[in-house]
Symmetry: C2
Subunit: 341 residues, 2 copies
C-alpha cells in the first residue's frame, strides 16, 4: 500500500488537493495519504514552514504531493522574503530532487485561450528539464556595507546528472540552454553537455542555445523544441514563459525527481490568495500532478494515462473554469473529469 505524503499548503492548495485526491481515489484505491501542514500553514501551526517531523515523514513516504505554498500573510517584510517558500527549498534539497520536469503541451480545446496565434502552438509538445538543487538558488549569498551578492555555482557532477535526465527524456533532440558567451558556469555546462552527448547519447541531436535566444524562440517557434535542459534560474524563467503557450498556468503539472527516495509532484500555479476560499480554482494542474505521481512516483503508467485522457475529454466536452474564460467551479471541473474515467 503506497503511502503519499500530502502537503496541501496554503491558499487554493487545499482546494485543489481535495480535487486531485478524489480523482486519484477513482483510479488507485490502494493509496493511503498522510497529511502535513507546510508553508504558511506550517508557520501558523508550528512556527516553521516545514518541521523536521514533516520532512522525515516525506522521506519515508512513497511520493510527495504538494498543493501550493506562500501568500501575503507570510511575507516577512517588504523585500518579499517569503518564508513560506522555505518549505519548497527544504523539500527540493532534502529529498535531492535535482530534476524538475515541466511538460508543455497546449490542448487543442484550449488553443483559443493562448496568447499565441494558433498556427504557432499547434502540435507543440515540449518538456522543460530544469536543474533544481544548484545554481543561484543554493549558492553562498550575503549583504554587507551596501553591497549584496549571490553565487552561481555548478559542479561537473551536477551538470552531468541533469543533462542525462534531459537526454533520457528525449526521442530526437535536446536543446541545452546556457549563457556561454558570458558565464563560466555556462561554459562548463556546455562542455559537459557536449561530452555526455558524445559519450552516452550520440544518436540524439544536441543543440546549444543562449538563454536570450531561447526566450525568443519559445514564442516565435515553440514547435522547434522537444526537450530543453537548463540550469535552475534560467529554467525558472523559461518554464514560466513557456507555460503561457497553454493559455493558463492552472493547467500545468510538474514533477521533481532525481533523489534516492520519493519524488515530489505539484501544480505549476501558486497559492492564488485572490481567489482562495471561493471554490473556483482550476484543479486540473493538481489533477495532472496526480497523474505524474502515478507515472513517475509509482510506475503506474496505465492509471496516469487514464487520468490525462479523462482531463482531455472533459475539456473537449467544454468544461472551463474561470481562468479559461468559463464559469465551472473546482467541484464541477473535478466531477467532469471523474465522469470520463
Amino acid at each position: 500500500m503506497p503511502n503519499i505524503a500530502l502537503l496541501p499548503g496554503d491558499g487554493i492548495g487545499p482546494e485543489v488537493a481535495t480535487a486531485a485526491i478524489e480523482v486519484l481515489n477513482a483510479v488507485a484505491t490502494d493509496l493511503t495519504y498522510d497529511e502535513h501542514k507546510v508553508g504558511g500553514a506550517g508557520i501558523d501551526e508550528y512556527g516553521v514552514a516545514m518541521t523536521d517531523d514533516t520532512m522525515a515523514a516525506c522521506k519515508a513516504s512513497d511520493a510527495v504531493l504538494l498543493g501550493a505554498v506562500g501568500g501575503p500573510k507570510w511575507d516577512t517584510n517588504e523585500t518579499g522574503a517569503v518564508r513560506a517558500e522555505d518549505a519548497l527549498f527544504g523539500l527540493r534539497a532534502g529529498l535531492g530532487l535535482y530534476a524538475n520536469l515541466r511538460p508543455i503541451r497546449p490542448l487543442p480545446a484550449l488553443y483559443d485561450a493562448s496568447p499565441l496565434k494558433r498556427e504557432l502552438i499547434e502540435n507543440v509538445d515540449m518538456l522543460i528539464v530544469r536543474e533544481l538543487t544548484g545554481g543561484l538558488y543554493y549558492g553562498e549569498r550575503g549583504t554587507k556595507d551596501g553591497r549584496a551578492y549571490d553565487t552561481l555555482v555548478y559542479t561537473v557532477e551536477e551538470i552531468e546528472r541533469i543533462v542525462r535526465a534531459g537526454f533520457r527524456a528525449a526521442k530526437s533532440r535536446v536543446t541545452s540552454v546556457d549563457k556561454a558567451n558570458v558565464l563560466d558556469t555556462s561554459r562548463l555546462w556546455r562542455d559537459v553537455a557536449t561530452r555526455i552527448h558524445a559519450e552516452e547519447f550520440p544518436t540524439i541531436e544536441l543543440e546549444h542555445e543562449l538563454v536570450d535566444a531561447a526566450a525568443m524562440k519559445l514564442i516565435s517557434a515553440p514547435r522547434h523544441f522537444e526537450v530543453i535542459v537548463t540550469e535552475n534560474m534560467f529554467g525558472d524563467i523559461l518554464s514560466d514563459e513557456a507555460s503561457m503557450l497553454t493559455g493558463s498556468l492552472g493547467m500545468l503539472p510538474t514533477a521533481s525527481l532525481g533523489g534516492d527516495g520519493p519524488s515530489m509532484f505539484e501544480p505549476v500555479h501558486g497559492s492564488a490568495p485572490d481567489i482562495t476560499g471561493q471554490g473556483i480554482a482550476n484543479p486540473i494542474g493538481m489533477i495532472l500532478s496526480g497523474a505524474l505521481l502515478l507515472r513517475h512516483g509509482l510506475g503506474r503508467e496505465a492509471e496516469a494515462a487514464a487520468v490525462e485522457s479523462a482531463v482531455d475529454k472533459a475539456l473537449d466536452k467544454g468544461i472551463r473554469s474561470r481562468d479559461l474564460g468559463g464559469t465551472a467551479t473546482t467541484a464541477e471541473v473535478t466531477k467532469a473529469v471523474l465522469e470520463e474515467l
Copy 2:
C-alpha cells in the same frame, strides 16, 4: 560638428551601418564619422576585438554607433566563448554605460508579423531599462577542479542610478523586476527601488514583479507594462523575449546611456552570418538606432522624430524586408525610408 565613432563590426553590421548613415546624412548634414574595426573585424586586423586606440577614439567622440559583433569565425572553442563580444563588454564598462534602453512598440503595419494575437499587442508601448555594467556579467568568476562559479553583485549606488533612470523615463508606472524570494541582490534591489520611489518619485506608481511572473505577463498582458527596470541578466532575457512582440528583431534599436562621456547606439539584432553579404538585411533596427543617437546622443529631438516617422510611413506603404515576409533588399528599404523624409 559632432563626431560619431562608427563601429560597423561584423556580418551584416557594415551593411546596415551604410544604410543608417545614408538616413542620418539626410537629416543631419553636419555630422562627421570616424570608422573603426571592432569585434571579429578587430581581431582579424589587430588581434583584439577592441584596441586601446579605438577605445580612446570612442571616448573622445560625441556618440558611438555600433553595427553588430561576432560570428562563427571568432568562436574560440566549442564552449562558445566568443571573443568578438569582448568589444561590447569593453565599450559598456569603458564608457560607463549602465543604462540600456530598449523601446518595444509593435507597429500596426506589422501586427500580422507578431506571434501574439493582435488584440494583445495593440497599443503596446513599453520601455525596458536594463542595468548594463553590473551583475553576473562583471562579477568574479572562475573554473577549478570540476567546479565553476559566477558572482552576481550589486551595490546600493548601482541600483539607485538605474532605478532613477527607470523613473525618469516613466510617465505613470515603473515595474521593477527581481527575484526577491530567492536572491539577496534582489532583496537589496527591492529595498532600494522602494526607497528611491518614496523619496524621489512618489507620484509615479512602483510595482515589484518576480522575474518568472514578468516572463509570463510579457506575453499574456504586454499592455500592462510602461517601464520595466531590471538587472543585467534578467534584462537580457526579458528584453529579447519582449522583442518578439514586434514580429522581428530586425526592427529594434537600443541606446546605452549613463556615462559621463558619449553614449552608444546599436540595433538589437546580431551579426546574422547566415544572410551576410546578400544585401537583404533589414536596416530598420540600425536606422532607428540612428534616431536614438540623434535624440539621446545629440539632443536633436526633431530630427529623431523625423526619422522615426519616415520609417513608420515607409512600412505603412508596404515595404517589407525578408524577415517580415517581404522581398525588399537593404537598399530598397533604405530608399523607401529616405523618400518619406
